[in-house]
Symmetry: D3
Subunit: 247 residues, 6 copies
């Protein structure tokens, strides 16, 4: 039993609220336990210079936290005048992960910006961002399809992300902040609806981890991703039907 | 009659939701029409260098917009590497306005940071920030008082802010984005519960305005502030009773 | 009687010296008491991107202080690597104010840059900058007209600025640094020759101010602006005759 | 057979040249195929603020490439005025990885800076940096031990890093630049002498990868790390004998 | 004969106006032909970290140009967010040159800041800055001596600077902007009252120069420095008498 | 006799190793005593904006030190977010010096970037950079000539640089770090194969220097440059034959 009474293989309560910001082409408030992230999708009818004339689109992401998303206040990166290494790592991860399930040629020469703004943090903000941003992106693509700008939603699969770790010797799924602070290993896994890996990032800073611990964590991640993709489908409702079928 | 069917002297619907972010000492989601701002108050047990040893506290504010708070996406200031002139003006205004009703000596040598993050914008974001931040600040002060760190809430009065302008020849109260775009004059007024002025900032960029127009706008502002302070009192509930009485 | 023996409604001695810098299209050294500002006007034959092809011109301003313009030395903003919030507020104010009396269409697709560099400061540097920059701008426009690039000087009115405040309970005009430091209210007013308001920025940081005090200050400002515009006309000499008549 | 005639499980030629820079406490030129990195270790007798008084030391790393380490010239980050997201990710990775085998308490309140400067790049620069920096760090620690500042070398294990990937359908070890460019999956693995994982970072940006591919890559990585640690021991010579025994 | 009718060995008209800015401890407007520089000296009662506790003082300089000091407008370095290489070179030069004639131990643990702000440029701004800053510095030191903070003015000699070059085959002294633009060699020389060299910076970018040309330029520089130091003494009046005697 | 047993007019051992970095069009590791600099030449088929359409090419240089090139570690300029004044001075000097012997019209509209990265420093890094960069540049030009992009190597002369100074009263050639630290005068001289001056930069910060000392240093510099150019020719081998003959 974990502190918050979850089983080792149990994710936190997840709520995905669509159309949260009226201006955006897609927007979601994703709540995972006490972690809350606003994910918006913006369609821009151009691509970065390296793709101009290529017939391909692009997906990019930005990530930020409100100063008081955390127990103590963090200085704004705008005030500091630069984006931290941690933020850059996370936004590169989110963009890369989402691109893996997008048919960029099918998207055409346009960019979808995913903005993930954490308004309250309790562990797992980067994985919640990926899971929520997928839904916002699907909504933006659906809007393009409904307006006739796209023939169909250019997604090749579903995609979600979850953290796993080893806490007090036990591999557990979807760590909250307290668990994360005391975890020996911290691993983020991004997987598709088909059960393929998109990203594995595991770190054993304080103590290295064994091949057996790795295998247990990968199994838990697979379970968690399965649950999260079910939540995404429920939230997307009839839009889910227009995304490439997933077994 | 205005486009959204309001009368010239009518403010938009206002909702002030307290305790919106669990980590902050005070936090509010203020909704004014379609404008939504998260205001958090953070207590820091130290003051800026120029006040050390003075026995006085400090109030400071930061303001930001999510990239997609607006109809088209704005680049993040953290990405640009600097805070814009507009943002600096606004956060200086918010801090200055709030300080005017705080007994800084009564606060003691601590700082309250007010973070105003606009998640959806439809005009009047700076005035909504001031009105909402006042409530978050009062909550943070109340918490300090309840913990025994303060004898009483060091507020000398209520404080709210509203915009006024001249749209199609008519002075109107609390402009939304469409009205603001076509206004000949744009003025922000910050007033106390006692009806004293704290800030007046009026600009007639395209066309200068007459002394008569100024007087009409000041009257409307007074009405609007009165309504907003009533909303603040309702939201604060029993905490309102612990703030210096206002007629 | 004030410390420097002026009456409450009396501005300081004003000297406007034209053609102060040989390279600039317009240049002025304005002296207001002990405040001295070099204002230069530069004509650039292009406009910012948002105006290209619009047929309209643009007026923009920059403001700075020499490090030792003040009693103690200020670090240069170039050395700090960024422009302060105060500087940004002031340069936005100067540009906005000057644009209000310019027929931007009449100016054609060109930009006039106004650089206001304070070489000695004793209060009222932003208002002296506006008053002086108006003259430098008129000179630059006159030069364009003389060269045949403009049919006439595209000014719709005169423009000047002055500060007002409440010092030791008395509303006074054109505060010097000592008065400004002890003022309860500090207000800057920009007005046209016709007596219309262009900007009102009043702040009662330490103590809010009453509607009556506001009215007294507005009256003083009107008197001061009247005196300053007379000084501008005297300085401009025959060029004054080519500016739209003002009663 | 691979383009450069290596077998899938074969690393490139590795040369580790110690004492490459005369001023540094430890310094190495590591050559892995055509990738060359200068790694220096600097001992600083203080720790970052968050560790002051803790009795613990710190290991931190910086990474950079000479502008012409690559086929086309890269602009310097100093000239751009900021460190890229890629550089930040890599230097965070190097520092984290090295810390995992250091007894920070045994190191005492001092910092070891590892500077990894790529002078020629042909794939695998971050893994070569980790493998080389380990040796430079061991040398710096040995120097401290010889001077009597440390009782013994505070290392708990050896540490090396290698890349693995799937190229043209085949899992391969230690990819050079050409292979890396065409790889479907790119994974970096950091392991200890005991065969424990310290970091796993795998990305399938273009195509997700299967659990089977993951297992094959992990096996290859284990072989590669084994070979690299043998090279480290050979290079360290008698210093190797003073590091915690590894089977 | 030169374009402005000067002889090859003739400097331009020089005017040194002391006490130009009322707040500064020393301040000068130096006019050399059409080049005008405001030099202020600020005394700060502390030294940079590397001199704390050393008993020595420090002299440092900053240099800037108003945007319209030149025929076309230059963007402000504060707006660009960084100081250019040219500016850094010049301010390092000015500081280094002035320090060469200061008895830093005699100055005690205080810093004198010399700010050189070019308000109008016509060649030779860096040499005019040095020549003018020397006088402002002497005035600030004299003030310290008069207040009893210093026993005597801690200057070991006079110091001035001048440019020399080869224009249309002829070595000439004190180049104005037009001459400078067409000069084959550009050299700045800083010398003491005793005729010792403090700095020689000669550049033959377009065409290298011969040893003979070098000797001719050095002779001209000596003459020019002699004239400039005479001007400094005249300007300093009775203060000149308190500076170490120079033949 | 000097500390390292050299005669006053003796340069340190110089080794110029060509083709040090495989990717660059020209690359050299120059070793001067214990100073080691990697110089690479990169050909870019475009010129800066101010030369577009002029038919002329451009030569530009960048300079940096590895953090541990020096006895104590220097913070990276990329980490600081800006290039120091010293670095800017040096890279401007290197570029200017090299341009003096290049027929920019003969080079055509292309840029050669010279990157000088000091990997170990023991005095004279800027002069070693110039001497080494000349060889890397010649190699890059030779490559262009061999590919038929240039008719001939567009060099008008050889070029090298050396430092001279006055140490313990004696003028000496090619100072190492220890000598440099105790030198009364520090002068860098850049000369052509024909014995013409390109740059002279001499500084007597602590003590001014006499005309006689200047002449002695210039003589030593001439000898040193002669020796260095001989080393360049030896290193260039048959490429030397294709450079304009030098007596």
């Amino acid at each position: 039993m974990r502190r918050d009474e979850r089983k080792p293989n149990q994710i936190r309560d997840v709520v995905i609220e669509r159309n949260f910001i009226k201006h955006a082409e897609g927007s979601v408030l994703i709540t995972v336990g006490d972690t809350k992230v606003i994910c918006t999708a913006t369609v821009e009818e151009k691509v970065p210079p390296f793709l101009r004339g290529s017939g391909q689109g692009w997906i990019t992401a930005e990530y930020s936290m409100l100063p008081r998303a955390t127990p103590s206040r963090n200085q704004r990166e705008a005030t500091k005048g630069k984006v931290s290494g941690r933020t850059m790592e996370i936004q590169r991860l989110i963009g890369r992960a989402l691109r893996s399930v997008v048919d960029l040629r099918g998207l055409g020469e346009r960019t979808i910006w995913l903005d993930c703004d954490v308004i309250q943090a309790d562990g797992g903000t980067r994985t919640a961002s990926i899971t929520g941003a997928f839904v916002a992106m699907a909504d933006a693509m659906n809007l393009l399809a409904q307006k006739g700008s796209l023939e169909k939603i250019p997604l090749t699969d579903y995609l979600a992300a979850v953290s796993v770790g080893v806490v007090e010797g036990t591999p557990v799924l979807d760590l909250n902040y307290i668990e994360d602070s005391s975890a020996k290993v911290d691993m983020n896994v991004v997987m598709t609806g088909q059960g393929q890996f998109v990203e594995i990032q595991g770190t054993g800073e304080d103590t290295p981890f064994s091949p057996d611990e790795l295998q247990s964590m990968l199994s838990l991640a697979k379970e968690g991703i399965h649950d999260l993709i079910r939540k995404q489908k429920e939230a997307l409702g009839e839009v889910a039907g227009r995304i490439a079928p997933v077994e």
